[in-house]
């Protein structure tokens, strides 16, 4: 254990200062300072996001894209400004390619439903063995509706994609690859640029599930060259209920509407309805206006951070946490890919993840216990569930130390 080097506090990343931006972190749970290590489930929100949403409801609340009164104009302006913030943040060519949805799950369902309408029986969709249920089930529903075939790219014991198997999965009928950018259960960062390049050689578009990638790195959809990119606001230090589907304009243009209703039409008569242009065609009904504004503000917060410092700091947290945890008798880390975000999934002999979750909670440590909505991953590793400590840039080395101590305590108590 002495061999483990504790990362020094870093001049480039003042974590104490950053923590002050997140009011929720300053509290005690069961008599201990809260150590929030469940960021892969949802992240905490900076004060500026909370204030922006509060201000919207106090001053500006009105429906968007209708009404000429002052509040409607303010709400519309702020809502569309949030869309522009998203576009800028992920470097999309056009705001027409930014569709607001409820979250990553709805974004993928939108593609499966709308893009999926163009697929025929026998067409093929490739997913991977490390997907969240949100990137499995929509394709199974599409399979039931249209008879498409699902092909699954396997993973290696380290928890990486088995890229050597990918060329063999392509056929003349392959219509889409849908895969996660970062695994929520394992932390693996997938070589998505390489996958996109291989797919494009076959003329196949690629959807990336970016829910777990966005909070840990800067994503540039043009650099990735992906065709769809989906993510959630609440995992990006923004509110729940809002998410984004980026779609390449040429693809979105060709796709039929996802849901029908207000907001997504140009004219309606009982004989014929013409649909609005992008992106509103995919945004039926009143959107989550406050959510979009909150997400926009979260992005403004993130844009001010030094991302090379964020990534270096998180990498040190990951290495430190991995070393400390692997040093604990009976503990096995699940997912040891070379490229990982700051997330450690693990199991411990004789201590079930649910008991672990309760014991850690008693010491103020919030971790996730369960199958992480990735049951095929659990099956692959032959475990019913894991415990998962997932970190963000506001977590500290001291929190990792407390986690390690609590894990040893759990083993003493239950084994």
């Amino acid at each position: 254990m002495n061999a483990i080097v504790k990362p020094r506090s870093d001049a480039d990343w003042d974590v104490a200062r950053v923590r002050r931006d997140f009011p929720i972190l300053d509290q005690e749970v069961h008599g201990h300072p809260l150590a929030y290590l469940d960021n892969a489930a949802t992240t905490q929100k900076p004060q500026s996001v909370i204030e922006a949403m509060d201000r919207y409801y106090r001053r500006d609340n009105a429906n968007v894209h209708r009404g000429v009164h002052a509040l409607a104009e303010r709400a519309t302006t702020d809502f569309e400004a949030a869309r522009e913030s998203v576009r800028r943040f992920i470097n999309a060519p056009s705001a027409r390619e930014i569709v607001f949805v409820r979250g990553t799950t709805e974004a993928i369902n939108l593609v499966a439903s709308s893009f999926g309408q163009g697929l025929r029986e026998g067409d093929e969709v490739i997913i991977t063995a490390m997907e969240h249920h949100a990137n499995i089930v929509p394709w199974q529903l599409l399979r039931e509706r249209t008879g498409v075939v699902l092909r699954v790219l396997p993973i290696t014991p380290a928890g990486e994609l088995d890229l050597e198997a990918l060329p063999g999965l392509f056929s003349a009928r392959t219509r889409l690859i849908a895969l996660t950018h970062v695994s929520n259960a394992l932390g693996t960062i997938n070589p998505v640029r390489q996958v996109v390049a291989m797919a494009h050689e076959h003329g196949v578009p690629v959807l990336l599930d970016g829910a777990q990638a966005m909070p840990h790195m800067r994503v540039d959809v043009q650099a990735l060259d992906c065709d769809f990119y989906a993510f959630s606001g609440h995992k990006l230090f923004g509110p729940t209920g809002i998410g984004v589907l980026y779609g390449r304009e040429s693809l979105l243009q060709a796709m039929p509407p996802y849901q029908g209703g207000g907001e997504m039409i140009r004219t309606v008569s009982f004989e014929k309805t013409t649909f609005a242009g992008l992106p509103h065609r995919f945004e039926a009904g009143t959107p989550d206006i406050a959510g979009a504004i909150g997400l926009g503000r979260a992005i403004e917060y993130l844009e001010k951070l030094d991302w090379s410092a964020v990534m270096a700091y998180e990498h040190r947290l990951l290495e430190y946490a991995t070393d400390r945890l692997k040093d604990i008798p009976g503990l096995r880390v699940i997912g040891e890919a070379r490229d990982k975000v700051a997330l450690v999934s693990f199991v411990m002999d004789d201590v079930h993840p649910h008991d672990m979750g309760t014991i850690l909670d008693h010491r103020g440590l919030a971790v996730r216990a369960g199958h992480h909505c990735a049951m095929p991953v659990m099956t692959f590793y032959q475990v019913p569930a894991t415990s998962r400590a997932s970190m963000a840039f506001y977590n500290t080395v001291e929190e990792v130390d407390r986690l390690a101590a609590a894990l040893r305590h759990a083993r003493e108590l239950l084994a």
Partner: protein, 149 residues
Amino acid sequence: MSELNDLYQELILDHKRHPRNFRDMPDATRAVDGHNPLCGDQLRLFVKVVGGRVEDVSFIGVGCAISMASASMLTETVKGRTVDEAQRLFADVHDLLTNDHPHTDPAELGNLGALAGVHEYPMRVKCATLSWHTLDTALTSDEDSVTTE
């Protein structure tokens, strides 16, 4: 919240480490699968009911300390009881774990009273009741599986 030791009492830990009647039962009259999809706990409960009496009861499965200990204690308590008595026990345990003001006195439930601490942990109640719901299904219906959802 109460002390962790109220949840993980020595009796519960003992049943977790050494589950009783943890075995298959080839001549069972009923075998029912219990599943908690939220946490992945999975068990199969076997009962052998002869003449309205639970002659034998056993289980196999995987789960957390609370679900395993609860199932183990269930088998010890229910074995030899009439079906009516077993159902009353189910009702009492359910009452003890889920009601804020249970009418059941933990002291009257013997070893099962050790489960009373689970009430303070709402997220864990389903762990403790899984085997009991499975027993109830085995004794009162034709279903072959039950989930806590």
